[in-house]
């Protein structure tokens, strides 16, 4: 699974992109976020307040119950501020 981080999520986590192989139980976006928080203080800090974390799977905005598959591209980012 490919993970991408943007804006202050990227800055707090300290990486822009990584490949991960989450445990078998991580089958939804919500489960992925819970697992990521356990991966270190940068992740815990970045994912402290999930109200301001948005998720896209394969470049589409998705909700917390969206299912995940091994080949997915999953991006985490704050609410967008373009325009």
């Amino acid at each position: 699974m490919k993970l991408l981080y943007f804006a202050w999520l990227r800055a707090k986590i300290g990486i822009a992109e990584e490949r991960v192989d989450p445990p078998a139980g991580v089958a939804t976006v919500a489960a992925l976020l819970d697992w990521l928080r356990t991966r270190g203080p940068g992740f815990a800090e970045a994912l402290k307040d999930l109200k301001v974390v948005r998720v896209a799977v394969n470049q589409e905005h998705v909700g917390r119950d969206h299912p995940l598959r091994p080949g997915d591209e999953v991006a985490l980012f704050p609410p967008v501020t373009g325009g």
Partner: protein, 149 residues
Amino acid sequence: MIRVQREDFDIGAELDALCRGKTGIGGLASFVGLVRDLAGDRRIGAMTLEHYPGMTERALAEIEAEAHRRWPLDAVLIIHRYGRLEPGERIVLVATASAHRQAAFDGCQFLIDWLKTKAPFWKLEETPEGPRWVDAQASDDTAAERWSR
């Protein structure tokens, strides 16, 4: 038509190209977003726009398609820049052309409202206190919601 680019754009040339050869157009509405030197009461030196290559193009193409579904538009244009921009520089151009001016106005406003809440761009401001990520504004959500249905 959509485009994501680092370079500036020429509004007149873009709008001319959009309308060229289409003599059924009665109204062309456009909106340009620019970098301000103030955000609230913070003075801004410049800002850097980060985006999500790939998803950005998909999101803008979807917004364009939705505008075409909702209004009788002869042409739609979205150009959004990324990278470092100084106050007064252009960030985004959206434009809609239609036989009828209300469709053009509504479509144009829809484009910018949806873009501001759906396209994956983030602004990092340079302030006297250091860099600062811009927060999403509740007013942008409100503006986008008026087009929900």
